[in-house]
Amino acid sequence: MTATRERQRVVLPKDYTFDLAEEMVDRIKNEFYPHDTVAELAPKVAGKAPAEARRIAEEHFRDYGRRWMDRSLELGNQYRDRAYETLLAAAAKTGEMAFPFIPERFIEIAYLSTQPIYSLPITENTKNAFGYKMVFCDTIENLREQCGDALADQLPCREGCLAAAERAFTANGFDVEVTQDASIIDGDFCQFSVRRKGA
């Protein structure tokens, strides 16, 4: 090995962007801001019996979660970054890594765009499982403020997170089971796990 040969193979810095596009983050934030979706829900549940209010809220958040992730998938593919391109190339080369990392990217995009966090704490990302937790959640805070503690304590918004996580994986061709392992009502954070079916 000669010094000359090494020099020729140095990887030069390029104008790559490794971060999420700010414009994409702003677009998703504007369309799926937790305050606004809870504001849409509030009149629907006002004056309803607790069980009915919960049913309506859960359906509202399920729909929100699906649309939120669909938009994150759409814009996430439109606004690509170098880390994503590297992931796609590595996944194609190795035949592995698509699970869980490709869906993980869209889940991170969804939460980072709409919640008051700078990074999403990942609890597991291995070849058969993925998990994350939400410590600072604007949705539950808005739910408490706009719809009251009684409904907020039922945590109907969990349906949004469950639906979004499932959508991120199924849209990328993975058959998964999504569960909630911890609740911000009972503790300090919500935690969700995604496991490949049959694994």
Partner: protein, 283 residues
């Protein structure tokens, strides 16, 4: 030994806990802060810089014959690093378990070897280090560290690659990258490896923690062939001329298992360090 086992192990060996390989892909930039310019998370990067600076002063003191100053710096560095060791020796069979977890793995140049030999590894047949986790998806962000490129590997390819280096006599260690995240798997030897040299030559114990095991020779099986001799980087293995058998000094053994993988008669096995009273606190 330390918080690696106490709080990161989850009831078992810390590096076999999938949680310690979990990491985000993205981070939004906090207002007023610029892009990340250092490897690892910011807290660890700062700690590494301080450690590097202190180590440079220790080397200078040693070179100048200022033994008291040298010992003082090393003692302080050991005290600071106690709660967050840099790397731990891992035997081949547990490296296989780690690779089964399936995180992004990419073979790359060894930065220690670049420093000691002033040459770079530029292809898969030359690379001897492996980056683990989602951080590898952004390797081009640090072109100087990754000169020569990287090559992403499937689990099967990664296992074969590590086995190759094991047959060549390279021991394995997992590197903690701060933030309780295991970010690298190195295939190392003395004297090229920085952590080994820091431990052996400078007494920086936390830079390279001994493995969870110690190796043991079954003299009923050992026929004295000597295939294991020369594999040990720590002077723990010798040939007992009076018995014509291999012998391992378990106080010196780091538990890398290179002797075990070389033995054609399965005469060498692993003992759990924590279960041996005299060794349970020898890390």
């Amino acid at each position: 030994m330390c918080r690696m086992c106490d709080s990161l192990g989850g009831g078992g060996t810390w590096y076999l806990n999938p949680k310690n390989y979990s990491n985000r892909m993205y981070k939004l930039r906090e207002p007023g802060k610029g892009p990340t310019t250092q490897l690892g998370n910011s807290a660890n990067a700062g700690a590494s810089e301080n450690a590097g600076s202190a180590f440079a002063r220790a080397v200078e003191a040693k070179a100048n014959g200022e033994l008291e100053t040298f010992n003082g710096i090393i003692a302080e560095m050991n005290k600071r690093a106690l709660m967050r060791p840099g790397a731990q020796v891992v035997p081949l069979h547990e490296v296989m378990d780690v690779l089964d977890m399936g995180m992004p793995v990419a073979a790359m140049m060894c930065i220690c070897r670049k420093g000691t030999r002033a040459c770079e590894e530029c292809s898969l047949s030359e690379y001897s280090c492996m980056g683990l986790g989602t951080g590898m998806l952004k390797w081009e962000r640090w072109p100087e560290r990754y000169r020569g490129g990287v090559e992403f590997l499937s689990t099967k390819q990664a296992k074969e690659w590590v086995e190759y280096w094991d047959t060549k006599g390279m021991m394995h260690m997992l590197m903690q990258e701060g933030g309780d995240f295991v970010g690298g798997l190195c295939n190392c030897d003395y004297p090229d490896c920085g952590p080994i040299r820091q431990r052996i030559d400078y007494g920086l114990y936390a830079q390279l923690v001994k493995g969870e095991y110690v190796c043991f020779v079954d003299w009923d099986k050992c026929n004295g062939c000597g295939d294991c001799l020369g594999r040990c980087h720590y002077n723990a293995l010798k040939f007992e001329a009076t018995m014509e058998k291999a012998h391992i000094d378990q106080f010196e053994c780091f538990g890398c298992g290179l002797c075990e993988t070389a033995c054609p008669r399965d005469a060498i096995s692993y003992l759990d360090r924590k279960k041996i009273p005299g060794l349970a606190k020898v890390w």
